[in-house]
Protein backbone atom coordinates (compact mmCIF):
# COMPACT_ATOMS: atom_id res chain seq x y z
CA UNK A 1 0.00 0.00 0.00
CA UNK A 2 1.20 3.48 -0.89
CA UNK A 3 1.40 5.51 2.32
CA UNK A 4 2.21 8.81 0.62
CA UNK A 5 -1.30 10.35 1.13
CA UNK A 6 -0.95 9.89 4.90
CA UNK A 7 2.55 11.39 4.95
CA UNK A 8 1.40 14.31 2.82
CA UNK A 9 -1.71 14.84 4.98
CA UNK A 10 0.27 14.87 8.24
CA UNK A 11 2.98 17.16 6.86
CA UNK A 12 0.37 19.49 5.37
CA UNK A 13 -1.69 19.62 8.57
CA UNK A 14 1.35 20.37 10.75
CA UNK A 15 2.57 23.12 8.43
CA UNK A 16 -0.93 24.53 7.95
CA UNK A 17 -1.63 24.53 11.69
CA UNK A 18 1.71 26.22 12.33
CA UNK A 19 0.88 29.03 9.91
CA UNK A 20 -2.65 29.33 11.35
CA UNK A 21 -1.13 29.72 14.85
CA UNK A 22 1.44 32.29 13.76
CA UNK A 23 -1.28 34.41 12.14
CA UNK A 24 -4.23 33.52 14.37
CA UNK A 25 -2.74 34.47 17.75
CA UNK A 26 -1.72 38.03 16.76
CA UNK A 27 -5.08 38.43 14.97
CA UNK A 28 -6.85 37.33 18.15
CA UNK A 29 -4.90 39.87 20.21
CA UNK A 30 -5.64 42.62 17.71
CA UNK A 31 -9.40 42.04 17.67
CA UNK A 32 -9.65 41.36 21.43
CA UNK A 33 -8.47 44.94 22.04
CA UNK A 34 -10.82 46.49 19.48
CA UNK A 35 -14.31 47.90 20.00
CA UNK A 36 -17.16 48.99 17.79
CA UNK A 37 -17.65 48.78 14.05
CA UNK A 38 -14.05 48.11 13.03
CA UNK A 39 -14.03 45.13 15.39
CA UNK A 40 -17.20 43.69 13.86
CA UNK A 41 -15.82 44.03 10.34
CA UNK A 42 -12.41 42.53 11.11
CA UNK A 43 -13.95 39.72 13.14
CA UNK A 44 -16.22 38.91 10.21
CA UNK A 45 -13.33 38.80 7.77
CA UNK A 46 -11.26 36.53 10.05
CA UNK A 47 -14.19 34.18 10.63
CA UNK A 48 -15.31 33.99 7.00
CA UNK A 49 -13.11 30.97 6.04
CA UNK A 50 -14.98 28.95 8.65
CA UNK A 51 -18.45 29.62 7.25
CA UNK A 52 -17.78 29.78 3.51
CA UNK A 53 -17.93 26.55 1.48
CA UNK A 54 -14.34 25.29 0.96
CA UNK A 55 -14.83 25.39 -2.78
CA UNK A 56 -15.47 29.12 -2.54
CA UNK A 57 -12.20 29.51 -0.61
CA UNK A 58 -10.52 27.39 -3.26
CA UNK A 59 -11.91 29.69 -5.93
CA UNK A 60 -10.57 32.78 -4.15
CA UNK A 61 -7.17 31.15 -3.72
CA UNK A 62 -7.12 30.24 -7.43
CA UNK A 63 -7.85 33.85 -8.28
CA UNK A 64 -5.17 35.14 -5.88
CA UNK A 65 -2.38 32.67 -6.71
CA UNK A 66 -3.35 31.90 -10.31
CA UNK A 67 -1.06 32.56 -13.24
CA UNK A 68 -2.93 35.72 -14.29
CA UNK A 69 -3.09 37.44 -10.90
CA UNK A 70 -0.51 39.99 -9.69
CA UNK A 71 0.48 37.72 -6.77
CA UNK A 72 0.82 34.72 -9.08
CA UNK A 73 2.85 36.80 -11.54
CA UNK A 74 5.16 38.03 -8.81
CA UNK A 75 5.75 34.51 -7.46
CA UNK A 76 6.28 33.21 -10.98
CA UNK A 77 9.00 35.82 -11.54
CA UNK A 78 10.85 34.16 -8.62
CA UNK A 79 10.26 30.79 -10.25
CA UNK A 80 7.62 29.76 -7.71
CA UNK A 81 4.48 28.10 -8.99
CA UNK A 82 1.92 27.69 -6.24
CA UNK A 83 -1.02 26.06 -7.99
CA UNK A 84 -0.85 22.25 -8.01
CA UNK A 85 2.18 22.18 -5.69
CA UNK A 86 2.50 20.74 -2.17
CA UNK A 87 2.63 24.32 -0.88
CA UNK A 88 -0.90 24.78 -2.25
CA UNK A 89 -2.18 22.04 0.09
CA UNK A 90 -0.53 23.88 3.00
CA UNK A 91 -2.12 27.20 1.99
CA UNK A 92 -5.55 25.58 1.77
CA UNK A 93 -5.08 23.90 5.17
CA UNK A 94 -3.84 27.12 6.79
CA UNK A 95 -6.76 29.16 5.47
CA UNK A 96 -9.44 26.76 6.75
CA UNK A 97 -7.64 26.23 10.10
CA UNK A 98 -7.00 29.92 10.76
CA UNK A 99 -10.51 30.88 12.04
CA UNK A 100 -10.47 28.02 14.56
CA UNK A 101 -7.23 29.28 16.11
CA UNK A 102 -8.33 32.88 15.88
CA UNK A 103 -11.72 32.38 17.55
CA UNK A 104 -10.64 30.08 20.38
CA UNK A 105 -7.62 32.21 21.26
CA UNK A 106 -9.60 35.45 21.04
CA UNK A 107 -12.16 34.05 23.47
CA UNK A 108 -9.31 33.10 25.84
CA UNK A 109 -7.77 36.57 25.63
CA UNK A 110 -11.14 38.18 26.30
CA UNK A 111 -11.64 36.03 29.39
CA UNK A 112 -8.50 37.43 31.01
CA UNK A 113 -9.46 39.69 33.91
CA UNK A 114 -8.93 43.26 32.71
CA UNK A 115 -7.49 44.30 36.06
CA UNK A 116 -4.65 41.78 35.66
CA UNK A 117 -3.61 43.50 32.44
CA UNK A 118 -4.14 46.93 33.98
CA UNK A 119 -1.98 45.93 36.94
CA UNK A 120 0.75 44.81 34.57
CA UNK A 121 0.66 48.19 32.86
CA UNK A 122 0.84 50.20 36.08
CA UNK A 123 3.76 48.01 37.18
CA UNK A 124 5.59 49.26 34.09
CA UNK A 125 5.64 46.05 32.05
CA UNK A 126 5.95 46.68 28.30
CA UNK A 127 3.14 45.62 25.97
CA UNK A 128 5.48 42.94 24.59
CA UNK A 129 6.19 41.52 28.05
CA UNK A 130 2.49 41.61 28.90
CA UNK A 131 1.66 39.69 25.71
CA UNK A 132 4.40 37.08 25.99
CA UNK A 133 4.60 36.57 29.76
CA UNK A 134 1.02 37.14 30.88
CA UNK A 135 -1.52 36.90 28.05
CA UNK A 136 -0.04 33.87 26.24
CA UNK A 137 0.42 31.78 29.42
CA UNK A 138 -3.06 32.71 30.64
CA UNK A 139 -4.55 31.77 27.26
CA UNK A 140 -2.62 28.47 27.16
CA UNK A 141 -5.68 26.16 27.36
CA UNK A 142 -7.36 28.13 24.58
CA UNK A 143 -4.25 28.04 22.42
CA UNK A 144 -3.92 24.27 22.96
CA UNK A 145 -7.59 23.70 22.15
CA UNK A 146 -7.41 25.92 19.09
CA UNK A 147 -4.32 24.10 17.87
CA UNK A 148 -5.98 20.70 18.09
CA UNK A 149 -9.16 21.89 16.38
CA UNK A 150 -7.10 23.54 13.67
CA UNK A 151 -5.07 20.36 13.14
CA UNK A 152 -8.23 18.27 12.84
CA UNK A 153 -9.76 20.70 10.39
CA UNK A 154 -6.57 20.87 8.31
CA UNK A 155 -6.41 17.06 8.21
CA UNK A 156 -9.93 16.85 6.82
CA UNK A 157 -9.56 19.61 4.25
CA UNK A 158 -10.85 18.58 0.78
CA UNK A 159 -12.69 21.25 -1.18
CA UNK A 160 -10.13 24.05 -1.35
CA UNK A 161 -7.29 21.53 -1.67
CA UNK A 162 -8.76 19.81 -4.71
CA UNK A 163 -9.28 23.18 -6.40
CA UNK A 164 -5.81 24.63 -5.95
CA UNK A 165 -3.63 21.56 -5.41
CA UNK A 166 -5.42 18.96 -7.44
CA UNK A 167 -4.81 15.22 -7.16
CA UNK A 168 -1.18 14.47 -7.90
CA UNK A 169 -0.26 11.18 -6.19
CA UNK A 170 2.92 11.52 -4.13
CA UNK A 171 2.81 15.34 -4.35
CA UNK A 172 -0.59 16.81 -3.51
CA UNK A 173 -2.79 13.79 -2.90
CA UNK A 174 -3.89 13.97 0.75
CA UNK A 175 -5.96 11.27 2.48
CA UNK A 176 -9.38 12.93 1.88
CA UNK A 177 -8.51 13.42 -1.79
CA UNK A 178 -7.29 9.81 -2.01
CA UNK A 179 -10.58 8.57 -0.52
CA UNK A 180 -12.61 10.54 -3.06
CA UNK A 181 -10.71 9.25 -6.06
CA UNK A 182 -10.53 5.67 -4.76
CA UNK A 183 -14.29 5.58 -4.22
CA UNK A 184 -14.98 7.25 -7.55
CA UNK A 185 -12.72 4.77 -9.30
CA UNK A 186 -14.60 1.87 -7.68
CA UNK A 187 -11.68 0.83 -5.40
CA UNK A 188 -13.84 0.55 -2.26
CA UNK A 189 -11.28 -1.47 -0.24
CA UNK A 190 -8.65 1.20 -0.71
CA UNK A 191 -11.16 3.91 0.18
CA UNK A 192 -12.23 1.99 3.29
CA UNK A 193 -8.63 1.60 4.48
CA UNK A 194 -8.12 5.36 4.36
CA UNK A 195 -11.49 5.95 5.97
CA UNK A 196 -10.54 3.74 8.93
CA UNK A 197 -7.19 5.48 9.30
CA UNK A 198 -8.71 8.97 9.20
CA UNK A 199 -11.44 7.97 11.71
CA UNK A 200 -8.79 6.65 14.10
CA UNK A 201 -6.66 9.77 13.81
CA UNK A 202 -9.65 12.10 14.21
CA UNK A 203 -10.88 10.18 17.23
CA UNK A 204 -7.44 10.42 18.86
CA UNK A 205 -7.43 14.15 18.20
CA UNK A 206 -10.82 14.61 19.89
CA UNK A 207 -9.64 12.49 22.84
CA UNK A 208 -6.53 14.67 23.08
CA UNK A 209 -8.72 17.78 23.04
CA UNK A 210 -10.65 16.47 26.03
CA UNK A 211 -7.49 15.91 28.03
CA UNK A 212 -6.04 19.37 27.43
CA UNK A 213 -5.89 20.34 31.05
CA UNK A 214 -6.59 23.44 32.99
CA UNK A 215 -3.82 26.06 33.15
CA UNK A 216 -0.99 25.22 35.52
CA UNK A 217 -1.85 26.88 38.81
Amino acid sequence: MDWSPLVISIKTSIAGTGIALLLGIPAARLVANMRGKSRAILDGVFTLPMVLPPTVLGFFLLVIFGRNSPVGQLLLSFGIRVIFSWEATVIAAAVVAFPLVYRTVRASFEQIDRSVLHAAKTLGLSERTIFLKIMIPMARPGIAGGTILAFARALGEFGATIMIAGNIPGRTQTVPVAIYFAAEGGNMTRALNWVIIIVLISFSVVALLNTVGEPKQ
Binding site: D113, H118, A119, L123, G124, K133
Partner: protein, 366 residues
Protein backbone atom coordinates in the same frame (compact mmCIF):
# COMPACT_ATOMS: atom_id res chain seq x y z
CA UNK B 1 5.37 65.53 45.97
CA UNK B 2 1.69 65.43 45.20
CA UNK B 3 -1.08 64.59 42.80
CA UNK B 4 -2.96 67.41 41.11
CA UNK B 5 -6.05 66.52 39.16
CA UNK B 6 -8.83 68.39 37.37
CA UNK B 7 -10.72 66.17 34.94
CA UNK B 8 -14.05 65.55 33.28
CA UNK B 9 -15.33 62.38 31.66
CA UNK B 10 -18.86 61.87 30.33
CA UNK B 11 -20.75 58.65 29.81
CA UNK B 12 -24.35 58.22 28.70
CA UNK B 13 -25.89 58.60 32.16
CA UNK B 14 -22.94 59.75 34.21
CA UNK B 15 -20.50 62.62 34.30
CA UNK B 16 -17.31 62.61 36.33
CA UNK B 17 -16.12 66.08 37.21
CA UNK B 18 -13.45 66.18 39.89
CA UNK B 19 -10.67 68.53 40.87
CA UNK B 20 -8.50 68.03 43.92
CA UNK B 21 -4.95 67.69 45.11
CA UNK B 22 -3.42 64.96 47.23
CA UNK B 23 -0.27 65.83 49.16
CA UNK B 24 2.31 63.31 50.29
CA UNK B 25 3.39 61.54 53.42
CA UNK B 26 1.53 60.29 56.46
CA UNK B 27 -0.46 63.51 56.82
CA UNK B 28 -1.35 63.56 53.14
CA UNK B 29 -3.20 60.28 52.91
CA UNK B 30 -6.30 61.18 50.96
CA UNK B 31 -9.50 59.17 51.19
CA UNK B 32 -12.07 59.10 48.41
CA UNK B 33 -15.39 58.10 49.95
CA UNK B 34 -18.51 57.39 47.95
CA UNK B 35 -21.15 54.86 47.04
CA UNK B 36 -20.46 52.32 44.31
CA UNK B 37 -20.80 53.97 40.94
CA UNK B 38 -19.97 57.45 42.21
CA UNK B 39 -16.80 57.62 40.13
CA UNK B 40 -14.18 57.08 42.82
CA UNK B 41 -12.51 54.10 41.15
CA UNK B 42 -12.82 55.80 37.77
CA UNK B 43 -10.90 58.75 39.20
CA UNK B 44 -8.09 56.44 40.33
CA UNK B 45 -8.01 54.71 36.95
CA UNK B 46 -7.68 58.09 35.26
CA UNK B 47 -4.71 58.95 37.48
CA UNK B 48 -3.06 55.61 36.68
CA UNK B 49 -3.71 56.06 32.96
CA UNK B 50 -5.98 53.04 32.56
CA UNK B 51 -8.86 55.33 31.60
CA UNK B 52 -8.58 58.50 29.57
CA UNK B 53 -10.55 61.56 30.71
CA UNK B 54 -12.38 63.64 28.10
CA UNK B 55 -10.70 66.82 29.24
CA UNK B 56 -8.62 68.36 31.98
CA UNK B 57 -5.14 67.65 33.34
CA UNK B 58 -3.37 65.36 35.80
CA UNK B 59 -0.03 66.11 37.39
CA UNK B 60 2.02 63.64 39.43
CA UNK B 61 4.90 65.15 41.43
CA UNK B 62 5.09 68.12 39.10
CA UNK B 63 5.10 66.01 35.94
CA UNK B 64 2.12 66.41 33.61
CA UNK B 65 0.88 62.92 32.77
CA UNK B 66 -2.35 64.04 31.10
CA UNK B 67 -3.35 67.34 29.55
CA UNK B 68 -6.15 67.44 27.02
CA UNK B 69 -5.16 70.90 25.77
CA UNK B 70 -1.61 70.05 24.83
CA UNK B 71 -2.51 66.47 23.92
CA UNK B 72 -0.36 64.82 26.60
CA UNK B 73 -1.50 61.34 27.66
CA UNK B 74 1.30 59.22 29.10
CA UNK B 75 0.93 55.45 29.01
CA UNK B 76 0.32 53.80 32.41
CA UNK B 77 3.82 52.33 32.17
CA UNK B 78 5.35 55.83 32.25
CA UNK B 79 3.31 57.24 35.14
CA UNK B 80 5.02 55.42 38.00
CA UNK B 81 1.86 54.84 39.97
CA UNK B 82 1.36 51.88 42.26
CA UNK B 83 -2.20 50.62 41.90
CA UNK B 84 -3.62 48.09 44.34
CA UNK B 85 -6.71 46.42 42.88
CA UNK B 86 -9.70 45.19 44.84
CA UNK B 87 -9.24 41.78 43.22
CA UNK B 88 -5.43 42.02 43.75
CA UNK B 89 -4.92 41.22 40.04
CA UNK B 90 -2.03 38.82 40.62
CA UNK B 91 -0.64 37.04 37.55
CA UNK B 92 -2.23 33.58 37.92
CA UNK B 93 0.32 31.67 35.85
CA UNK B 94 3.26 32.97 37.88
CA UNK B 95 4.39 31.97 41.36
CA UNK B 96 4.45 34.54 44.15
CA UNK B 97 8.19 34.97 43.63
CA UNK B 98 7.75 35.48 39.89
CA UNK B 99 4.89 37.92 40.45
CA UNK B 100 7.19 40.10 42.53
CA UNK B 101 10.26 39.50 40.41
CA UNK B 102 8.68 40.70 37.18
CA UNK B 103 7.67 44.00 38.79
CA UNK B 104 11.18 44.84 40.02
CA UNK B 105 12.71 47.70 38.08
CA UNK B 106 9.37 48.26 36.38
CA UNK B 107 9.55 45.08 34.33
CA UNK B 108 12.71 45.71 32.32
CA UNK B 109 14.56 42.59 31.19
CA UNK B 110 17.83 44.25 32.21
CA UNK B 111 16.65 44.41 35.79
CA UNK B 112 15.69 40.73 35.85
CA UNK B 113 19.18 39.63 34.79
CA UNK B 114 21.01 41.86 37.28
CA UNK B 115 22.99 39.98 39.94
CA UNK B 116 21.11 41.72 42.78
CA UNK B 117 17.70 40.80 41.42
CA UNK B 118 17.19 37.56 43.35
CA UNK B 119 18.20 39.06 46.66
CA UNK B 120 15.90 42.04 46.12
CA UNK B 121 12.98 39.67 45.53
CA UNK B 122 14.01 37.64 48.61
CA UNK B 123 14.11 40.82 50.69
CA UNK B 124 10.61 41.85 49.63
CA UNK B 125 9.27 38.35 50.29
CA UNK B 126 10.69 38.40 53.82
CA UNK B 127 9.56 41.94 54.51
CA UNK B 128 5.95 41.03 53.75
CA UNK B 129 6.19 37.64 55.48
CA UNK B 130 5.46 35.73 52.29
CA UNK B 131 8.87 34.03 52.01
CA UNK B 132 7.40 30.57 52.54
CA UNK B 133 4.83 31.23 49.80
CA UNK B 134 7.41 32.09 47.13
CA UNK B 135 6.80 28.96 45.05
CA UNK B 136 3.01 28.91 45.36
CA UNK B 137 0.54 30.12 42.79
CA UNK B 138 -1.94 32.92 43.62
CA UNK B 139 -4.91 30.52 43.51
CA UNK B 140 -3.34 28.60 46.42
CA UNK B 141 -3.31 31.66 48.70
CA UNK B 142 -5.87 33.12 51.08
CA UNK B 143 -7.31 36.58 50.50
CA UNK B 144 -5.04 38.18 53.07
CA UNK B 145 -1.96 36.49 51.62
CA UNK B 146 -2.90 37.55 48.10
CA UNK B 147 -3.23 41.10 49.28
CA UNK B 148 0.23 41.02 50.86
CA UNK B 149 1.68 39.69 47.60
CA UNK B 150 -0.11 42.41 45.62
CA UNK B 151 1.25 45.05 48.01
CA UNK B 152 4.80 43.68 47.82
CA UNK B 153 4.56 43.49 44.02
CA UNK B 154 3.30 47.06 43.83
CA UNK B 155 6.12 48.39 46.03
CA UNK B 156 8.67 46.33 44.05
CA UNK B 157 7.95 48.59 41.08
CA UNK B 158 9.14 51.64 43.08
CA UNK B 159 6.02 53.78 42.58
CA UNK B 160 6.02 57.53 43.18
CA UNK B 161 2.39 57.57 44.32
CA UNK B 162 0.10 54.81 45.56
CA UNK B 163 -3.52 54.31 44.57
CA UNK B 164 -5.55 51.90 46.70
CA UNK B 165 -8.81 50.82 45.07
CA UNK B 166 -11.07 49.28 47.75
CA UNK B 167 -8.14 47.15 48.94
CA UNK B 168 -10.11 45.54 51.77
CA UNK B 169 -13.50 44.96 50.18
CA UNK B 170 -12.77 41.43 48.98
CA UNK B 171 -11.78 40.21 52.46
CA UNK B 172 -13.92 38.49 55.06
CA UNK B 173 -15.00 40.90 57.76
CA UNK B 174 -12.98 39.23 60.52
CA UNK B 175 -9.79 39.53 58.44
CA UNK B 176 -10.44 43.04 57.29
CA UNK B 177 -9.33 44.94 60.38
CA UNK B 178 -6.12 42.96 60.71
CA UNK B 179 -5.19 43.40 57.06
CA UNK B 180 -6.11 47.07 57.26
CA UNK B 181 -3.64 47.58 60.08
CA UNK B 182 -0.92 45.68 58.23
CA UNK B 183 -1.56 47.78 55.15
CA UNK B 184 -1.46 51.00 57.13
CA UNK B 185 1.78 49.98 58.85
CA UNK B 186 3.42 48.85 55.59
CA UNK B 187 2.68 52.18 53.98
CA UNK B 188 3.66 54.32 56.98
CA UNK B 189 7.16 54.89 55.59
CA UNK B 190 6.02 55.55 52.05
CA UNK B 191 7.07 59.12 51.22
CA UNK B 192 4.71 59.86 48.31
CA UNK B 193 1.01 60.57 48.00
CA UNK B 194 -1.47 57.84 48.84
CA UNK B 195 -5.06 57.92 47.60
CA UNK B 196 -7.40 55.44 49.25
CA UNK B 197 -10.76 54.67 47.69
CA UNK B 198 -13.53 53.07 49.72
CA UNK B 199 -17.25 53.03 50.35
CA UNK B 200 -16.63 52.36 54.04
CA UNK B 201 -16.50 55.55 56.11
CA UNK B 202 -14.80 53.81 59.04
CA UNK B 203 -11.95 52.60 56.84
CA UNK B 204 -11.48 56.03 55.33
CA UNK B 205 -11.64 57.63 58.78
CA UNK B 206 -8.94 55.36 60.19
CA UNK B 207 -6.69 55.40 57.14
CA UNK B 208 -6.80 58.98 55.94
CA UNK B 209 -6.17 62.47 57.22
CA UNK B 210 -7.85 64.17 54.31
CA UNK B 211 -11.20 63.24 52.87
CA UNK B 212 -12.99 63.80 49.61
CA UNK B 213 -16.61 62.75 49.36
CA UNK B 214 -17.81 61.92 45.87
CA UNK B 215 -21.47 61.84 44.90
CA UNK B 216 -22.61 60.99 41.35
CA UNK B 217 -19.31 62.05 39.86
CA UNK B 218 -18.90 65.34 41.72
CA UNK B 219 -17.15 66.32 44.92
CA UNK B 220 -19.74 66.80 47.67
CA UNK B 221 -17.25 67.78 50.38
CA UNK B 222 -13.50 68.01 50.72
CA UNK B 223 -11.35 68.79 53.70
CA UNK B 224 -9.50 67.50 56.75
CA UNK B 225 -11.12 64.31 58.00
CA UNK B 226 -12.32 65.63 61.35
CA UNK B 227 -13.83 68.76 59.84
CA UNK B 228 -15.72 66.74 57.25
CA UNK B 229 -17.22 64.48 59.89
CA UNK B 230 -18.06 67.39 62.21
CA UNK B 231 -19.54 69.58 59.49
CA UNK B 232 -20.40 67.67 56.30
CA UNK B 233 -22.09 70.76 54.78
CA UNK B 234 -23.90 68.83 52.01
CA UNK B 235 -26.61 66.18 52.13
CA UNK B 236 -24.56 63.48 50.35
CA UNK B 237 -21.58 64.16 52.62
CA UNK B 238 -23.78 63.89 55.71
CA UNK B 239 -25.29 60.64 54.48
CA UNK B 240 -21.91 59.12 53.55
CA UNK B 241 -20.36 60.08 56.85
CA UNK B 242 -23.12 58.07 58.51
CA UNK B 243 -25.77 60.61 59.45
CA UNK B 244 -29.06 58.70 59.63
CA UNK B 245 -31.37 61.68 60.24
CA UNK B 246 -31.59 64.13 57.37
CA UNK B 247 -34.71 66.20 56.68
CA UNK B 248 -35.76 69.22 54.67
CA UNK B 249 -35.29 72.41 56.71
CA UNK B 250 -35.77 76.15 56.27
CA UNK B 251 -34.17 79.12 57.93
CA UNK B 252 -36.44 80.50 60.66
CA UNK B 253 -34.16 83.06 62.27
CA UNK B 254 -30.53 84.06 62.75
CA UNK B 255 -29.83 80.86 64.70
CA UNK B 256 -33.05 78.96 64.22
CA UNK B 257 -34.35 76.44 61.70
CA UNK B 258 -37.71 74.80 61.07
CA UNK B 259 -37.84 71.10 60.21
CA UNK B 260 -41.41 70.27 59.09
CA UNK B 261 -41.10 66.49 58.79
CA UNK B 262 -39.79 66.26 62.36
CA UNK B 263 -42.28 68.83 63.69
CA UNK B 264 -39.44 70.76 65.35
CA UNK B 265 -38.09 74.27 65.46
CA UNK B 266 -34.47 73.97 66.46
CA UNK B 267 -31.92 76.42 67.82
CA UNK B 268 -28.46 76.21 66.30
CA UNK B 269 -25.15 77.22 67.81
CA UNK B 270 -23.79 78.83 64.67
CA UNK B 271 -25.66 81.31 62.45
CA UNK B 272 -27.82 79.58 59.86
CA UNK B 273 -26.46 79.97 56.30
CA UNK B 274 -28.91 81.41 53.77
CA UNK B 275 -28.66 78.49 51.38
CA UNK B 276 -29.74 75.85 53.91
CA UNK B 277 -32.01 73.17 52.45
CA UNK B 278 -31.66 70.33 54.93
CA UNK B 279 -30.83 69.67 58.57
CA UNK B 280 -29.27 66.59 60.05
CA UNK B 281 -28.40 65.09 63.41
CA UNK B 282 -26.39 61.96 64.06
CA UNK B 283 -28.17 59.19 65.95
CA UNK B 284 -25.59 59.11 68.76
CA UNK B 285 -25.79 62.86 69.36
CA UNK B 286 -29.42 62.75 70.51
CA UNK B 287 -29.49 62.25 74.27
CA UNK B 288 -31.66 62.35 77.33
CA UNK B 289 -32.19 65.85 78.72
CA UNK B 290 -29.73 67.02 81.37
CA UNK B 291 -30.44 69.74 83.95
CA UNK B 292 -28.15 72.19 82.19
CA UNK B 293 -30.03 71.91 78.91
CA UNK B 294 -32.06 74.95 78.06
CA UNK B 295 -32.92 74.62 74.36
CA UNK B 296 -33.93 71.93 71.85
CA UNK B 297 -35.50 69.75 74.54
CA UNK B 298 -38.71 68.02 73.51
CA UNK B 299 -40.94 65.11 74.42
CA UNK B 300 -40.76 62.22 71.99
CA UNK B 301 -42.87 59.12 71.50
CA UNK B 302 -40.90 55.90 71.02
CA UNK B 303 -42.29 54.36 67.84
CA UNK B 304 -40.06 51.31 67.59
CA UNK B 305 -36.93 49.72 68.96
CA UNK B 306 -34.36 47.59 67.25
CA UNK B 307 -31.86 45.69 69.34
CA UNK B 308 -28.33 44.73 68.39
CA UNK B 309 -26.07 42.73 70.75
CA UNK B 310 -24.54 45.80 72.42
CA UNK B 311 -26.81 48.66 71.48
CA UNK B 312 -30.43 49.62 71.05
CA UNK B 313 -31.68 51.86 68.29
CA UNK B 314 -34.92 53.70 68.85
CA UNK B 315 -37.11 55.48 66.37
CA UNK B 316 -38.85 58.47 67.94
CA UNK B 317 -41.27 61.17 66.77
CA UNK B 318 -41.70 64.56 68.40
CA UNK B 319 -44.81 65.15 70.53
CA UNK B 320 -44.89 68.84 69.68
CA UNK B 321 -48.26 70.28 68.78
CA UNK B 322 -49.73 69.76 65.34
CA UNK B 323 -48.72 72.58 63.05
CA UNK B 324 -45.31 73.22 64.62
CA UNK B 325 -42.93 73.97 61.76
CA UNK B 326 -45.94 73.46 59.54
CA UNK B 327 -46.45 69.74 59.98
CA UNK B 328 -49.31 67.48 61.02
CA UNK B 329 -48.47 65.08 63.80
CA UNK B 330 -49.50 62.02 61.83
CA UNK B 331 -47.13 62.73 59.01
CA UNK B 332 -43.93 62.99 61.02
CA UNK B 333 -40.85 61.03 60.07
CA UNK B 334 -39.26 59.05 62.88
CA UNK B 335 -35.84 60.17 64.08
CA UNK B 336 -33.26 57.47 64.66
CA UNK B 337 -31.30 57.57 67.91
CA UNK B 338 -29.04 55.35 69.96
CA UNK B 339 -30.80 54.55 73.20
CA UNK B 340 -28.92 55.38 76.39
CA UNK B 341 -29.64 52.06 78.08
CA UNK B 342 -30.75 48.56 77.25
CA UNK B 343 -33.46 48.75 79.85
CA UNK B 344 -35.30 51.76 78.44
CA UNK B 345 -38.87 50.59 78.01
CA UNK B 346 -40.66 53.93 78.36
CA UNK B 347 -43.26 54.94 75.81
CA UNK B 348 -42.17 58.56 75.85
CA UNK B 349 -38.81 60.20 76.47
CA UNK B 350 -37.62 63.73 76.98
CA UNK B 351 -34.68 64.23 74.64
CA UNK B 352 -32.26 66.97 73.71
CA UNK B 353 -30.88 67.73 70.25
CA UNK B 354 -27.76 69.73 71.23
CA UNK B 355 -27.56 72.99 69.21
CA UNK B 356 -23.87 72.46 68.42
CA UNK B 357 -24.68 69.05 66.91
CA UNK B 358 -27.29 70.22 64.42
CA UNK B 359 -25.85 69.77 60.91
CA UNK B 360 -26.86 72.53 58.53
CA UNK B 361 -26.78 71.18 55.00
CA UNK B 362 -27.32 72.11 51.40
CA UNK B 363 -28.53 69.69 48.76
CA UNK B 364 -25.28 69.76 46.81
CA UNK B 365 -22.03 71.61 46.46
CA UNK B 366 -23.09 73.48 43.36
Amino acid sequence: MSILIDIRKTYKNFTLNVAFSASSGQTGRTGLLGESGCGKSLTLRCIAGIEKPDSGFIEINGKTVFDSESGINLAPQLRNTGYLFQSYALFPTMTVGENIGIACGRGTAAERTKPGHRSKVRELLDQYRIGELADRYPSQLSGGQQQRVALARMLASDPEVILLDEPLSALDSFLRRQVEEELSASLSRFPGSIVFVSHDRDEVFRFCKKMIILDSGSIAREGPRDEVFADPQTVPAARLTGCKNIAVATKAGERRIAVPSWGLILETERPVPDGITHAGIRAHHIRAVKETDTVNCFNFAVESRSEAPFSVTEYVTALTASGVAGSERNYREPICMESSGLTGKERTERLCLPPDRILMLTLSNA
